[in-house]
């Protein structure tokens, strides 16, 4: 895929849609294009999150494991989709493992590049944050709904006020 098609793919993602083509090209140049063989790992659940990745070609499986269940595949990420964007706003850990399902190519934007934009007060940083708004809120609403539904099923039926301080149901 030639570089201008890759920049087009970047601009087609909701997060980067608000950028001008000139800004998108500059941002693309500040990241790295990396290849992954089928079966190799882009990042692992639990490791520090320090970059956003856009899939340029191929596909990645999203795998999550927990103490109670072995690794399960939750979704497949295709070209044009972004993973790990939360790394740009908080220094957390990866919530899932991403494994290449076939030979794949990604564009990786290190979070320090985004930090640099913020420090310089570059308007591009604001446009990227606006691009993140709707997806983050949608995911939040979905997971809150699922959690509340499960709590309704699991809590004793005689309770009409279920207290759960381990979960947050933030509007």
């Amino acid at each position: 895929m030639n570089p201008s098609k890759q920049v087009q793919l970047l601009l087609s993602n909701l997060i980067f849609k608000g950028l001008t083509p000139v800004d998108a090209k500059a941002l693309f140049g500040a990241g790295q294009v990396l290849s992954f063989n089928a079966g190799s790992i882009l990042f692992s659940q639990g490791e520090p999150a320090s970059s956003l990745c856009l899939v340029l070609a191929g596909a990645f499986q999203v795998q999550i494991s927990s103490e109670t269940s072995p690794s399960t595949t939750l979704a497949t990420i295709s070209p044009g989709e972004v993973v790990g964007e939360v790394a740009l706003i908080s220094s957390g850990r990866r919530s899932a493992t991403l494994m290449a399902a076939v030979d794949s190519v990604v564009w990786m934007l290190p979070s320090e590049v985004f930090e640099g934009l913020l420090e310089r007060g570059d308007p591009m940083a604001g446009r990227i944050l606006h691009g993140m708004n709707s997806d983050l809120c949608r995911r939040f609403r979905e997971v809150v709904y699922e959690g509340a539904t499960l709590m309704g099923k699991l809590a004793p039926k005689n309770l009409d006020r279920v207290y759960d301080d381990s979960m947050r149901w933030e509007p």
Partner: protein
């Protein structure tokens, strides 16, 4: 009125400069709540975002499929509520109610929108602080939901 020194102690505002905090201090309104005062009603758009400074504030979420069954959770001091509804302009997913006498900071919808629109660096950094708060709550609820899924499949 709250000042930038007090704001600098709040972890969820990390990453903002002293100048940013001075500007924000002028935009925030400090509210003193009595027990049972409601800040946000489930199903209605939040009028603003709120940061709990002192006291006990809870969220009450109607459990899906039930008419009068609530899931209650307390909001830790230093955390934001109302941000999701403020950002996506959709109805709030829970009611937010003071349980004890409480002190909260409020930023109205109009002020928030004015502050994060445009390219002011202080607005961009504040926007990021709020998104970081949504992301950390998302991650916490997400990991709880993974546990609940496992519990539901075993029950």
């Amino acid at each position: 009125m709250i000042n930038e020194l007090e704001l600098a102690q709040i972890e969820s505002l990390a990453g903002l400069t002293t100048e940013d905090l001075k500007t924000l201090a002028k935009e925030f309104e400090e509210l003193h709540l009595s027990p049972s005062n409601v800040l946000i009603h489930e199903g209605q758009e939040a009028s603003g975002a709120f940061l709990v400074l002192e006291g006990k504030v809870e969220t009450e979420k109607m459990l899906p499929g039930y008419k009068e069954r609530l899931l209650i959770s307390s909001i830790p001091v230093g955390e934001w509520v109302g941000v999701v509804s403020l950002i996506d302009n959709k109805p709030a997913t829970a009611t937010v109610r003071a349980i004890s006498t409480s002190r909260v900071l409020a930023i109205s919808r109009q002020t928030f929108n004015r502050f994060i629109q445009g390219d002011k660096p202080s607005g961009i950094r504040f926007h990021r602080a709020l998104l970081r708060s949504v992301a950390s709550q998302l991650s916490r609820v997400n990991s709880n939901v993974i546990g609940l899924r496992a519990a539901a499949s075993n029950s």
